[in-house]
Structures are given as structure tokens and as C-alpha cells.
């Protein structure tokens, strides 16, 4: 987005009737002021508050929060979760975008709505459904404990298969809440690009896979990257859904956002905000990366537009 405005601004300021499309100075100042005040009150101050609280006892206490064993294991679990959830949704996103953008079929709108659904579902509900399925009182739960299926192999029968209150449940809940992100980025992009280039490639004798790799992928790579960044940020930051299925076992099933809550509940406010600031830094890094991608991305498109 950041690079986009300059495109539209340049021709307008040189336009023939500037007074007609420009607002009076006082209005510009007022609106800019309102917008900035809003941004400061809602976005900047919370961010500043996190870092102020985190550094309240100095840099030493701040850094100490990250070297603690439970914080490290929370970090590891968060990274592992993202490492599984993001690629899984990436593959899905590409497949869904290919089917939806390149072909017409019955029920496309419904499919699009269903893909969006996890985004509008309350995180609490996303956690609840996995409890209903894998909980000990749920559908599958009773069959997952050891001794429940003597007809299966001895290994399976001798071990509990722990889904919720363990890593698989946390991963599943995360996959659910980050489900639409990549697909949502790619579908409009690939719809806009149409199918001409792929047709040409196929006609010239390329295989399907070659066409995808040499023609489609270069066209969508920035959108893809952009979706992955957002998906990753959400995967690492999810709280509500993960909280329902985590079990809060210290050093084992706590992700970073849950660790923040635990530290907060232990009156360890400095450490809580320190870990929170790590997540905020992650958010900031995401935003910077995203701006860079957008900048690259708009330049690529700009040049392709000039070429066309």
C-alpha cells in the first residue's frame, strides 16, 4: 500500500482544475490531525506502553525474561507451530487459488465464503470444536487413549495419542485460525491476472507443472510472500483458540502469547511485557517486511503495466 499513493497523486496534482479536486488547507490539516491523533491513541501508545513496561526494571531484567527455560520452550513451540501451520496453509492457498481463479465451476461463491469462514469464527469457537472432537468426552477422544483399541498394533494400543492439550491440538487450532490468509491473498491476484499467459505456455507445449512454475509462480510470488507473512504473524500471535486447547503445561504446551498471560498471572509484569514486546517486535518486523514486499510488488506491477 505504501508505494501506491504516489502513483495516483502525481497526475492529480498536475491536473487542470486543482481547486476542484483539492481540499482547503484547513480541511487538510484538520483531517490529517484527526487521523494522526487516532493513530497515536490507538496504535502508537499501546505499542509504547508495552515497551515502557518491559524496560521498567532496566535492560538486564528485560533480557533475563528471554533466557528463562520456560520462555525458550514457549518460543520453540511457537516457532514449531508456525513452521507447520504456514506451509500447510500455503499449499492449500495455492491449490485453492488455482482452482478458483483459473476455472469456472458451480458453487464458487459458496466455496469462497467457506474459505473465509475461519476468519469470522470466534477464536474461542475454533478451540471449542477441537475439544468436541478430540476431548475425552468428545467423538474421537475416547479412542485415542491407550488400551482403547486392542485390535490395532501393540504400539498404538500401548501409547496415548494426545491431540488436544499437546502439540498437535495447538497446531490444529493454529492451522484453523490462519486457514484463509494465503488463499485470500492469492485468489484476487490470480483472478486479476487471468489465464492468457498460462494458455500461451500450454499451447507452446509446456507441461502443467512447468507452466505453474515458470509462468504462474513468478507472477504471484510477491502476493504469496505477502500472504505467508500475514499468516505467520497470526500463527505466532494466536491466543484465544490456542488457550482453549493448550492445557497450559509449563514448558510443554505454552506458546508465547500464553506465556505472556502466565507471567502476568505470576505478578511478573516486567517479564510478561518483555515477552509481549518480543511479539510486538515480531509484529513490527512483519510490518516492515510487508512494506518492503509491497514496494517491490508495486514496482514489478508498475513495470509490467508500462510494458503492456
Amino acid at each position: 500500500m505504501s508505494a501506491a499513493p504516489s502513483r495516483s497523486l502525481t497526475p492529480r496534482s498536475a491536473s487542470a482544475a486543482p481547486r476542484a479536486t483539492q481540499d482547503p488547507a484547513w480541511a487538510r490539516w484538520l483531517l490529517t490531525g484527526v487521523a494522526l491523533l487516532f493513530v497515536v491513541l490507538f496504535l502508537v501508545l499501546p505499542l509504547v506502553a508495552v515497551f515502557t513496561e518491559a524496560l521498567r526494571r532496566g535492560v538486564g531484567a528485560y533480557l533475563a525474561a528471554f533466557t528463562e527455560a520456560d520462555a525458550l520452550s514457549a518460543l520453540r513451540l511457537t516457532l514449531l507451530t508456525a513452521l507447520i501451520a504456514v506451509p500447510a496453509n500455503l499449499v492449500f492457498g495455492v491449490a485453492a487459488a488455482w482452482a478458483i481463479a483459473k476455472f469456472n465451476f458451480f458453487g464458487k461463491s459458496l466455496l469462497l465464503t467457506l474459505i473465509d469462514l475461519p476468519f469470522a469464527v470466534s477464536p474461542v469457537i475454533s478451540g471449542l470444536i477441537y475439544v468436541l472432537i478430540f476431548g475425552l468426552q468428545g467423538w474421537c477422544g475416547p479412542y485415542l487413549v491407550s488400551g482403547a483399541h486392542p485390535w490395532l498394533g501393540s504400539w498404538l494400543n500401548a501409547h496415548d495419542i494426545q491431540i488436544i492439550f499437546a502439540v498437535p491440538g495447538i497446531v490444529l487450532a493454529t492451522v484453523f485460525v490462519t486457514f484463509p490468509f494465503v488463499a485470500r491473498e492469492l485468489i484476487p491476484l490470480m483472478q486479476a491476472q487471468g489465464t492468457d499467459e498460462e494458455y500461451a505456455a500450454i499451447t507452446l507445449g509446456a507441461s502443467g507443472w512447468q507452466t505453474f512454475r515458470r509462468v504462474t509462480l513468478p507472477n504471484i510470488k510477491w502476493g504469496l510472500f505477502y500472504g505467508v507473512i500475514l499468516c505467520n504473524a497470526r500463527a505466532m500471535g494466536e491466543f484465544g483458540a490456542v488457550s482453549v486447547v493448550s492445557g497450559h503445561i509449563r514448558g510443554e504446551t505454552n506458546t508465547l502469547p500464553l506465556h505472556v498471560e502466565i507471567l502476568y498471572n505470576e505478578y511478573n509484569f516486567v517479564a510478561a511485557f518483555a515477552v509481549a514486546s518480543l511479539l510486538a517486535l515480531l509484529a513490527l518486523a512483519t510490518l516492515i517486511l510487508k512494506s518492503l514486499v509491497e514496494w517491490r510488488y508495486s514496482r514489478v506491477l508498475e513495470s509490467s503495466k508500462v510494458g503492456a
Partner: protein, 331 residues
């Protein structure tokens, strides 16, 4: 990566987590205020177990609101032992999930409660609102902080202590209900757990008085300074018995019964009782009571069994959906 390989990976991880437990691992699922207690106790038990058997034991901890934790165990959180805020939260683990027998509370001494506690008031230094007893909490303009009794074990003790006081001093259950309703009118924030309430009172500066576990009140003085808060002991309170229990189905499945049983029994040992006393819980063994008794204020304590007829009745009458607590809030 396709779905199959993801599933494979998921199961792989699960298996790895299960298989790596060469030394014994226990999971103790507990409620909010016991974090510090069990950090120290687990270390002591590990040393004790190593000396006695040569095995290393790691006790994993999970803390949260008592009701939330019980729900976790019912849904399959593999707790070897539960140490919750009240018997009423272990009962459903027995009755709903059938993970332990319903007579679990008779299996260990003192109603399976190796430590007890009570409910006291934490006020701001100098007690500016002159809060001395339960009556002062229903005065208009006094702001009372307590968690939500629906989700917090501690809050249920708060509620019942107030009820018992009003029943005693104002005569009858109806008067008690009016009294408790008036008290909850003065509550501006209902956090879901005891720790949330303490943070609201101490850190956010909301409220004139915090209804707290005695051990939480002592801990708050230690953590946040005795120059900022003081403890007020009401004329009557309730004997809070946070019980512990072995989760039979889990320990039998995992083969941890012996060590889990030893873990709970160690709570009653001299060492265990000592740690309990140092963390401001009231010990239950006579020797430790003699040693730590003086740090606790003398206060008349009623019990759940004698005053309310046990947790099953309390849960049904007061905290079930549509029960007395809900009626208080229904306009």
C-alpha cells in the same frame, strides 16, 4: 507438504513426546495461587524420590482457574494428580469423566486436604475506608474486588464466607441472599480467576478491598510491599479445603501410580508441611500447625460440610445455571 505428511509429522511429534519420558514425569494440574508453592515442593519431592528410589522425577505444572483446570482434565488433559481449589471441582472429574472413584476425598487424611486456608480482606495501607468486617463490604460506595464465582474456586469460597456470616448475623438464608446481592452490587470487575483479581486490585488500583485467599493476601504483601497494603481479618470466615487427588485412570494408563501416590503423601510429610507453612497455607499435621500456627490470625471458621451440606448441594443451589448467584445478577 501434503496432509498425509503433516499428520505423520503430528503423530511423530506426539510419539516423540511420549517416548522421551525415560525418567518419570508427572503432571500436576492445579489452580491459580499454588504456583509458587508447587515450584518449591516439586523440587523437594524430586530430591526425596531420587534419594529413596534412584529414579529422577520431573513434575510438570499447569495452573489456571480451578474450574478451567477441572474442565481440562475432564477433556483429557493427562493429569496424574489434581490439586484444585475445592472438592466441587474434583467431583465432576469423578462423576462426569469417571477418571477416579467418587469417594476420592476419603482416600487421604484430612478430607484429602494437606493444607487449608481461609478468606481474608486485603485493603490499602491505613485502611482508609475503615473496612473491618463483612458488614462494611455492603456499605454504599465501598468497592469490592472478587473473581467470578462461576469460574473461580477462590471466589466461591468468598461468596460462601459472606453467606455464612450474613446467615449467622442477620438470620436465615433469605437475609443472606440479600446481603450477598448487596455485596456483589459493590463489585466493579469480575475477573475469571483469583490471580486476575489480585492484579486488578494491586496493579490497576481498582477497588477498596480485595477478597482473597489468605495465602494470596500474604503473598501480595510480600510481592508488592507491606507499605502499600494490609490484611484485615473478618470476625468469621470459612475453612477453605483445597483437596488433592490421584487420577486413577491416568496413572494406571501411564504406569505412574506409585510415584504419584508418593507425591501426594509427601505433601503430608514433615518436609512437605514445612514448605506448605512457608507459603502461607495452613498446614494440616499437628507438628507443623504447632510450628506455623502463630503466623495465622485466629478466626472462627465454618466448614462447607456443617454450614452448607457439602459441595454437591452448594453447587446445585448456588452456582448452577439459574442458581442463587445467577438470580443475584438477574434484574
Amino acid at each position: 507438504m501434503n496432509v498425509k505428511s503433516i499428520l505423520f509429522l503430528l503423530f511423530g511429534i506426539t510419539a516423540a513426546l511420549g517416548a522421551s519420558a525415560k525418567d518419570v514425569q508427572l503432571l500436576n494440574v492445579s489452580y491459580d495461587p499454588t504456583r509458587e508453592l508447587y515450584v518449591e515442593f516439586n523440587k523437594a519431592f524430586a530430591a526425596h524420590w531420587l534419594a529413596q528410589t534412584g529414579d529422577t522425577v520431573t513434575v510438570k505444572q499447569s495452573h489456571g482457574g480451578s474450574g478451567k483446570q477441572a474442565r481440562g482434565v475432564i477433556d483429557g488433559l493427562p493429569a496424574d494428580v489434581v490439586t484444585l481449589a475445592l472438592g466441587g471441582d474434583i467431583d465432576p472429574i469423578a462423576s462426569l469423566a469417571k477418571l477416579l472413584p467418587t469417594d476420592w476425598q476419603t482416600r487421604l487424611p484430612h478430607n484429602s486436604s494437606p493444607y487449608t486456608s481461609t478468606i481474608v480482606f486485603l485493603v490499602r495501607k491505613g485502611n482508609p475506608r475503615h473496612i473491618n468486617d463483612w458488614d462494611d463490604l455492603v456499605r454504599s460506595g465501598v468497592s469490592v474486588i472478587t473473581p467470578n464465582p462461576k469460574t473461580s474456586g477462590g471466589a466461591r469460597w468468598n461468596y460462601l464466607a459472606a453467606w455464612a456470616y450474613a446467615k449467622r448475623h442477620q438470620g436465615g438464608d433469605e437475609a443472606a441472599q440479600r446481603f450477598v446481592a448487596a455485596l456483589f452490587k459493590n463489585v466493579p470487575v469480575l475477573d475469571s480467576g483469583a490471580r486476575g483479581s489480585t492484579t486488578t486490585f494491586v496493579q490497576r488500583g481498582i477497588g477498596d478491598v480485595l477478597l482473597a485467599w489468605e495465602n494470596e493476601a500474604f503473598l501480595a504483601l510480600k510481592e508488592f510491599g507491606a507499605d502499600a497494603f494490609e490484611i484485615v481479618v473478618p470476625s468469621l470466615s470459612i475453612l477453605a479445603e483445597p483437596p488433592v487427588a490421584l487420577v486413577d485412570r491416568v496413572v494406571d494408563r501411564r504406569g505412574t501410580r506409585t510415584v504419584a501416590q508418593a507425591y501426594l503423601e509427601f505433601l503430608y510429610s514433615e518436609k512437605g508441611q514445612d514448605i506448605i507453612g512457608r507459603h502461607f497455607y495452613r498446614p494440616s499435621e499437628p507438628a507443623a500447625i504447632a510450628k506455623y500456627g502463630r503466623q495465622f490470625p485466629q478466626v472462627e471458621l465454618v466448614t462447607i460440610a456443617s454450614e452448607f451440606g457439602g459441595w454437591a448441594a452448594v453447587q446445585q443451589i448456588h452456582f448452577a445455571d439459574g442458581g442463587v448467584f445467577d438470580q443475584i445478577y438477574a434484574k
